[in-house]
Symmetry: C2
């Protein structure tokens, strides 16, 4: 597998009043992931990148981590360090953000 | 897992002369996947969607299938039916398009 973990962050923007993850918020999340991974020297093993709609609009801002296929919802920039430390590095699911898909 | 297979198709466009998968080509591939999946009634179990750069620019147009993490390169619209039939439905890797990551 090319990456030990591959994180897809939704940056899809729908027109109001439809709920969506949002381009701006998605970009901010992605920047936070990239910064955290680079600081830890993990950017070659673990990739975080943008994606279109992950089919979880009502629960966004959303992302999915593969190969596990774990979906997280209502993710804020302040949650990124915990997601990296717990899930991406230590394989522990962050239950408070996990979506039950 | 929300989807039995989750296909991320790169739609990233870089400025020439840099090689990239390309927005137009990626969109055409994605349309072909969606059409094929819908025709087979598989659109709820198997998702194909757009993604940003998959870090395989030199081998594009590229896509990755999760949870396996199988990368395919130089994918053309004419290859989509085979990818759906072999890989997504029957779990057989399409060796001639597989990238060795």
């Amino acid at each position: 597998m090319k990456f030990a973990k591959h994180v897809f962050v939704c940056t899809n923007q729908k027109e109001a009043p439809k709920k969506s993850c949002g381009a701006e918020h998605g970009a901010a999340l992605l920047d936070a992931f990239k910064q955290e991974l680079t600081q830890r020297g993990l950017q070659k093993e673990i990739r975080a990148q943008r994606a279109g709609c992950l089919d979880a609009c009502a629960f966004g801002p959303a992302l999915v981590v593969y190969p596990e296929g774990t979906y997280y919802g209502n993710v804020q920039v302040a949650d990124v360090a915990e997601l990296v430390e717990k899930h991406l590095v230590n394989n522990e699911v962050v239950e408070r953000l996990k979506l039950d898909f």
